[in-house]
């Protein structure tokens, strides 16, 4: 049994300790906002927060997440009013196909929580997610817009 705290709720699930967090979140807990893109920590589609750090859940075993505070994209979307980051994302019409965008937002959120006013270079270093649709210009603009309000 693995005990996970996800978005403030505790869950006990019967999975192997080495199961990647991604698959536990998506198919054991039904939190499917977090996406699968590569499975080898290359694309960032599966980005979630573990104790405030952005991690790639496809390559992060559930055992390592036990007892930690796990936050997924659903924690941003749950509120009635959109999160400031999401407002910026809507304003700049960031998503195209949208598939990479939950990971993109979680990576951006971790950056902005640690750095209120990131430079272009800070953004380049922190944001290593792949967007196959090429929404990069809009991602950069939205991060800058949201900076300071998070």
């Amino acid at each position: 049994m693995v005990l996970l705290s996800v978005n403030g709720e505790s869950h006990q699930i019967d999975v192997e300790p080495e199961m990647p967090l991604l698959w536990a979140l998506r198919e054991e807990l039904g939190l499917r906002g977090t996406k699968f893109g590569c499975g080898i920590a290359q694309c960032g589609a599966c980005t979630v927060h573990v104790d405030g750090q952005a991690v790639r859940s496809c390559s992060f075993p559930v055992a390592a997440a036990q007892g930690k505070d796990i936050r997924t994209i659903e924690s941003l979307s749950a509120a009635d009013t959109p999160h400031q980051l999401q407002e910026a994302w809507i304003k700049h019409q960031v998503p195209q196909c949208g598939y990479c965008q939950s990971g993109m937002q979680m990576a951006a959120l971790a950056l902005l929580q640690q750095n209120q006013n990131p430079s272009d270079e800070d953004i380049d270093i922190a944001m290593t997610n792949i967007c196959r649709c090429g929404s990069y210009d809009a991602v950069r603009a939205a991060i800058k817009d949201a900076a300071g309000s998070i």
Partner: protein, 737 residues
């Protein structure tokens, strides 16, 4: 424009002429029965009244538009809504857009029309579809498709606009009848018909029942462009908010009762068949595993969690049968292409007399170019979920043409079409991977596998391909070798242009130079090779845009001319290529020499899918010789711009997509299979190496062009043309090896 009642109300597909009448017109005719049936059903079932197949108006005056095109990020659903809102004369807030069901009634043979109108013979991209047998009636009926940048051009402008304008006329006529006034004395705004003299008003929602009983007008007046309030506005896309909040449901998010998970591994080489699975006993003992299967193009495991299934399939040991394809490699394929180009050639395009011109041309330039196979690598890997419910087989997946997918699923399962329900989802990228037609192979192989696994296991199955499976089981953008020769006059301008490339193109326009050259010959040789090929964003233009725009640049250099000026000298001053080039040169503050920091600019222009895009890329090489693309400017002439923001996003996205391919993209073939497996060896441009892109949509009242693909072709030549100023010219892609 005259419009018949049937052409309008049934589909709009009959608007137009030429070959269209033989293709889409026929489709509309045969679909008549089914369409009427569907209209009746939709009128009885849902709230509100149908005005035509696509448009329903509710008592609350909400306009429901049923769009046959699935959403993969191109924003065409919003654009179609804008066109209808404009001609129907309702406010944007009144519009509600829904995806049309995967029914024959909504098949859009009209999607082909823009191509047919542009190219007299053969109809470009559609040519491939004819070759693939799509012209057969049965297949035509499945063309509920999204691809080839056809949604706005075909469905929207040619069909829905007419349906909306006629709808407005019918609503006004209904009011005129009720009030016994002349229809000329009425006006509309915000979904309300008003009689100015008396001040009487009535909403569309209150008029639609009467209006739908009227005959559709045979002539409709369209709004003048100066009256537009919604077309041309950067209306926020309807799909954005749900995607930001991750409420959009992709195929991979399927959740049905008692669902099991399937993982698949490729067998090893294209065309190879499985001989035996050697350790299934052992695999079946693993936790959660319920079945091991040998299926079309793969081996599969079904388990109670996707990770368990994937781990198990990776542990599966199997042997494949012997096959000649195992000897195939990139090298052997390229050698075969080169040999073919030295052999007998077919002429694709010819003008003047190249043979004669060649004899007395002075300075000759020769060049050979090469582009590799490319995978689509959509962000969401291929997947489908198949289950039984209420006596029918249900399929949930993201596809560019749902109806064709539904037919495919029915065929694989040996079921009647009526016994299959398809639930189309938002797609995590399409780029041609999720269409129902390929060049040599059927791209819906993944759907076939999912249906097979459902049938063999007897379970509700969600099959998800690993990235590795996805990259190694694609319908690839073809690898192409091309050879060019040109002769220059004394003034440096080209006297002849002679090119040969491997493989007939889907679109004859792609390899032909847009420039005014007296003697031109474009030839090709060869048959499709063993690697499966399909449509890849911008189709032939991704290869041939690179070749043609690189070679013209080489000629400019050979003539010691500024490549921008050289191109302009060879283009009509009012041509859309010249307009776009002048605009992009101004945006970029064009310079033909590298600056003090070692940054050089390269230019290119490609007309594809009815749209012209000119680009300038600013590039440098770092100390280790790695190229860095700093900025890209793009000028877009796509005719009337429905939604400038969507256009900018699509073109900028196309540039990053094309840049990933130009810098890093290749699928090498070894042992008859693709070597690359995931994003670590099939690299993508990321934010740090993504250039700043500036897109300008040129004001134009020309015919509407496509937008989803057109950003892609010019970027590779623009970057390589810049690199040529910094050292060696890059004639083989990718640039970084």
């Amino acid at each position: 424009m005259g419009i018949t009642r049937r052409g309008l109300l049934l589909s709009g597909a009959a608007v137009g002429g030429g070959l269209l009448l033989g293709v889409a017109g026929l489709g509309a005719h045969l679909a008549t029965h089914n369409r009427l049936e569907h209209q009746r059903k939709s009128q009885s079932g849902s709230k509100g009244q149908s005005l035509s197949l696509w448009i329903r108006i509710t008592p609350d005056n909400e306009v429901v538009l049923l769009v046959p095109h699935t959403e993969m990020g191109q924003g065409s659903q919003t654009g179609l809504g804008q066109i209808v809102a404009e001609e129907l004369d309702v406010d944007w807030e009144q519009m509600r857009i829904e995806l049309a069901p995967a029914e024959v009634a909504f098949a859009n043979g009209a999607a082909l029309e823009p191509f047919i109108r542009e190219q007299v013979s053969p109809p470009g991209w559609a040519e491939g579809m004819f070759q693939n047998g799509i012209h057969r009636i049965a297949d035509l009926m499945s063309l509920q498709m999204t691809g080839g940048s056809t949604a706005i051009r075909g469905t929207g402008w040619l069909s829905m606009r007419a349906a909306a304008a006629a709808g407005r006329a019918m609503l006004m006529q209904a009011a005129a009848n009720e009030w016994s006034v002349d229809v000329q004395s009425l006006s509309t705004a915000g979904g309300i018909v008003e009689h100015q003299d008396s001040g009487r008003k009535k909403s569309y929602g209150d008029l639609v029942a009467a209006a739908s009983k009227l005959d559709a007008p045979t002539e409709v007046d369209f709004k003048d462009i100066t009256q537009y309030r919604i077309i041309g506005q950067a209306i926020p896309r309807i799909d954005v908010e749900s995607k930001v909040k991750t409420q959009a449901i992709y195929g991979i998010d399927a959740d049905v009762p008692d669902m099991k998970y399937a993982a698949v591994a490729p067998i090893g080489a294209f065309g190879v068949e499985i001989d035996s699975i050697d350790n299934d006993d052992e695999i079946l003992k693993r936790r959660g595993v319920s079945g091991v299967y040998s299926i079309d193009k793969g081996v599969a495991v079904v388990a109670d969690n996707p990770w368990r299934a994937e781990q198990a399939v990776r542990a599966l040991k199997y042997s494949a049968k012997a096959h000649d394809n195992k000897a195939v490699s990139s090298e052997s394929l390229e050698a075969d292409q080169r040999a073919a180009l030295a052999g007998e050639l077919s002429t694709l395009f010819e003008k003047g007399d190249v043979g004669l011109a060649m004899a007395d041309a002075g300075n000759q330039v020769n060049a050979e170019y090469f582009v590799p196979y490319l995978a689509h690598a959509t962000m969401e890997p291929m997947n489908a979920t198949v289950w039984q419910q209420d006596g029918k087989m249900h399929v949930q997946c993201g596809v560019q043409n749902p109806l064709m997918a539904r037919k495919k699923a029915a065929k694989v399962a040996s079921l009647d079409l009526d016994d299959v329900v398809l639930h189309p989802c938002t797609m995590g990228g399409g780029f041609g991977r999720r269409v129902g037609v390929g060049i040599t192979n059927d791209p819906l192989d993944w759907l076939q596998q999912a249906v097979q696994l459902h049938q063999e296991s007897g379970e509700a199955v969600k099959m998800t391909w690993s990235r590795e499976m996805d990259m190694r089981t694609d319908v690839y953008r073809p690898m192409v070798l091309a050879q060019f020769r040109a002769g220059l006059e004394n003034d440096g301008m080209p006297r002849f242009w002679d090119s040969r490339h491997y493989l007939a193109t889907q679109d004859v326009a792609a390899p032909a130079p847009p420039y005014r050259i007296e003697h031109v010959k474009v030839r090709h040789a060869g048959e499709p090779q063993v690697v499966p090929t399909g449509f890849w964003r911008s189709v032939d233009f991704s290869q041939h845009g690179f070749f043609v725009e690189s070679f013209i640049d080489e000629l400019a250099h050979a003539a010691s001319e500024d490549p921008l000026t050289y191109r302009l000298k060879l283009l009509g001053v009012n041509s859309s290529e010249a307009r776009a080039l002048r605009a992009v040169a101004e945006m970029a503050a064009w310079r033909s020499e590298a600056d003090a920091q070692g940054r050089a600019m390269g230019v290119s222009v490609v007309h594809s899918f009815g749209t012209t895009v000119a680009q300038v890329a600013e590039v440098s090489r770092d100390a280790s010789g790695m190229p860095k693309v700093h900025r890209v400017w793009a000028a877009v002439d796509c005719g009337l711009a429905i939604n400038p923001q969507s256009i900018q996003a699509q073109v900028a996205g196309g540039i990053h997509f094309g840049l990933s391919a130009a810098l890093y993209g290749k699928c090498d073939i070894q042992g008859g299979a693709v070597v690359q497996s995931n994003y670590h060896d099939y690299r993508m441009v990321k934010l740090a190496d993504a250039p700043r892109v500036e897109v300008k949509v040129l004001a134009s009242d020309g015919e509407i062009g496509g937008i989803g693909e057109v950003g892609v072709p010019p970027i590779a030549p623009a970057v390589c043309n810049a690199l040529a100023l910094l050292g060696e010219r890059q004639r083989r892609l990718p640039i970084v090896v």
